[in-house]
Symmetry: C2
Subunit: 434 residues, 2 copies
């Protein structure tokens, strides 16, 4: 039987060049969030299914989780998102932890979806969460954190923009203005969340499916469409404009401006798929029309930690996926080129393999990254291997060089050669900081 060499459908193999891109992205993210005092955590890949059933949203749990029964009869899922897990961990040490608590993680997540551009069944996501701050200082900080990441990637404000909304504003719209029931409101929120992905006529049909005949008569759909067209907080009808939710949004918009985040707009149709959001929600979009989608989403979810039987905790968090981030960096020509981090590739000739190993070890002790070609092929083939690996320097060790303890260093970019002792090599490849 011949086994397939393909990775699992919708998941990606990361060959070293792709892994180097991911390292660059994740290390940049780590550096940025640590600037704000965030600490990294991690957790098991598998959780009991209940923690998603509680609040993640029905589509995710019933249609998209990788769930199964383990050998001990437990119903479990490979995590589709990290928020329930981090809430569980905080709840487990609710009393011992010191607040404000700043945590981050870069887990892999699994969802059974149709693979498409920027969307895979397995993806990685930077998760940043701030626990214990009830004021909009929390939302502002997280937006600053995300902004600092994009700046670190050398992106500017013409390339991306924030949209913000407030769950309580949506609730007030559905319940006070449109008189929808709780259940109708939830359905309507999920529908609006998927609005961009469907035809306008289908969207109208779906609205009608949710409404009662009486509501249809009362032109609820028309009122909703008018509301969805609102572009600023000032345009909101008085019942919404005077709410504490609208006040929080205004305050946050102002605080953003003061902190230099000018690319923020209010978007009343912004929902976010998760049922656990309880306050301000935000998303960050790529402005490039080729890739015009949400790259980062988050918001306030004050109720989730409390579901684990402890005192509730005000919380704001966001997630930033690796696939959309990669698309963004490539689209805007911000992804750096991959270079080998091997300093020297040693090509031993004939009987000098033992010397090659010795020389390599002496250079490694001094902090150089050195690979030895043990293939026994002729020199030309060894040099070709180094070129394919994008290594710039080859150290040739023949019998003559081994005896003289001075080796031929060939620069593959300039095609020049020089003789070097170990000391000269160490001096040339300036010692790394460690």
């Amino acid at each position: 039987m011949k086994l397939s060499t393909q990775p699992y459908k919708g998941a990606r193999d990361f060959y070293p060049d792709k892994q180097a891109q991911r390292d660059y992205m994740f290390n940049t993210m780590r550096e940025c969030v640590r600037r704000f005092g965030y600490e990294e955590y991690d957790a098991p890949l598998i959780e009991p299914i209940e923690i998603y059933q509680a609040k993640s949203g029905s589509e995710i749990v019933s249609e998209q989780t990788y769930s199964f029964i383990d050998r001990g009869g437990r119903e479990v899922a490979i995590r589709p998102e990290m928020t329930p897990t981090v809430s569980r961990m905080v709840a487990a040490q609710r009393q011992q932890l010191a607040y404000p608590l700043r945590w981050f993680s870069i887990p892999n997540l699994w969802r059974y979806e149709r693979p498409q551009r920027g969307r895979f069944r397995e993806h990685w996501q930077l998760n940043v969460d701030l626990f214990g701050v009830a004021s909009i200082n929390a939302e502002l900080e997280l937006m600053l954190v995300a902004d600092s990441i994009f700046k670190a990637f050398k992106a500017d404000h013409t390339m991306y923009a924030y949209r913000i909304n407030h769950r309580q504003l949506l609730d007030a719209m559905f319940e006070t203005l449109l008189n929808l029931s709780k259940e109708q409101a939830l359905k309507m929120a999920h529908l609006i969340d998927r609005r961009a992905k469907m035809d306008h006529s289908l969207f109208l049909d779906k609205i009608d499916e949710i409404l009662t005949p009486k509501q249809k008569e009362a032109a609820v759909a028309e009122t909703l469409l008018t509301l969805l067209d609102i572009k600023t907080i000032d345009q909101l009808p008085p019942q919404l404009k005077d709410s504490s939710a609208a006040k929080e949004l205004s305050d946050l918009l102002q605080a953003c401006k003061k902190s230099g985040i000018l690319n923020v707009t209010f978007d009343i149709s912004l929902v976010r798929g998760f049922d656990y959001y309880s306050g301000i929600v935000f998303e960050l979009y790529d402005n490039n029309p080729e890739n015009n989608r949400s790259m980062l989403g988050g918001g306030r979810y004050d109720g989730l930690v409390g579901l684990f039987g402890v005192e509730p905790l005000p919380t704001v968090g966001f997630g930033l996926g690796d696939a959309t981030m990669t698309n963004f960096l490539e689209q805007h020509h911000l992804m750096p080129e991959f270079k080998s981090d091997v300093d020297i590739y040693i090509a031993p000739l004939n009987e000098t393999v033992e010397t090659a190993t010795e020389v390599a070890n002496q250079l490694r002790i001094k902090g150089l990254n050195v690979a030895v070609d043990y293939s026994g092929r002729k020199l030309g083939d060894q040099i070709k291997a180094a070129q394919k690996k994008m290594i710039q320097f080859v150290l040739i060790i023949g019998a003559r060089e081994a005896e003289a303890k001075s080796y031929t260093l060939k620069n593959l970019e300039t095609s020049t050669e020089e003789q070097c002792t170990i000391e000269q090599l160490v001096a040339k490849f300036s010692p790394k900081q460690e």
Copy 2:
């Protein structure tokens, strides 16, 4: 319903202090393997079950995998080990890749086992593989790589030792000396692999279960026990001693000595659980009697890449688990203490929150890690939070400090205070290299 705060059975939550230990271990490993020219790769968590059925060994597949049917009807498993995956990836680009190929990864792996000390259902494992070298230079290099990792952890040769064996020596022992069938040989190998975990009398019973009545009469069990007592290659009976396998083992032992690895012994009872090994196998043990177990195992598996329908490739690899490594470092007092990497914790008083955010952002631009306490609590409580987070410096910003643009820096270790401007703070917390 109250949700449980416990992690999935046999898996671990990594709170920031534990995550910092893991970072230390993984970053040290990465640095060491890169010194030898290895490049990092990664792959999907899920694979089709066939790639394990082919060669991993029956116990792993039938009793220990986390396998399930996905929503598309595919039979899949969460990877119990990385070797089949890396072989698949190399096979997929068999012609394009340049050999010798040096790859590493630190994946999480899942096995359904009874959790016990140093053994979890989820663990991480450094996987280091060298493709394309048929000579024992490959085995020697991998043993040098592992040795360099232990040295980097400040361990010395009194703390751990290598044991080596050769699959073909085992095969010759089973087939030539003991006249076992292929099937009996496989069973016997698995039994010897589990020998240390069972009573001697049970071990003898299990041998008898494998043997035919005729073999029992021929005292095959007694011959086996005598063979298992052999401690050096010189003591082997002539049929084994003159084999190419014994020659390779002798050569490797000699090469190890020349390269400074003196803590290696030949161990004829060393099997390694995987069916894919084809040549030399090796393990690295903790010498501490409290933790006397294998920490690292590997060997040659020349046939695995070829199972994916491409030309076979000589390959040697090893795996090093995080749980046994953690035990080793703790047992030998080699695990460093966790320190916060937050340079300054800002405690704003009353109306100075906005100033605090501004000051924090100015310090962050200069490369300092700064967290702000947005809780609104009184100063004493903010300082207690910093202490709990093991942060050494608190910057107090009251109305007076905000106006003077000079802030009170409190050193929590020495309980001293000084006034600092932003410039002075930047100078004090020496800029990091970037």
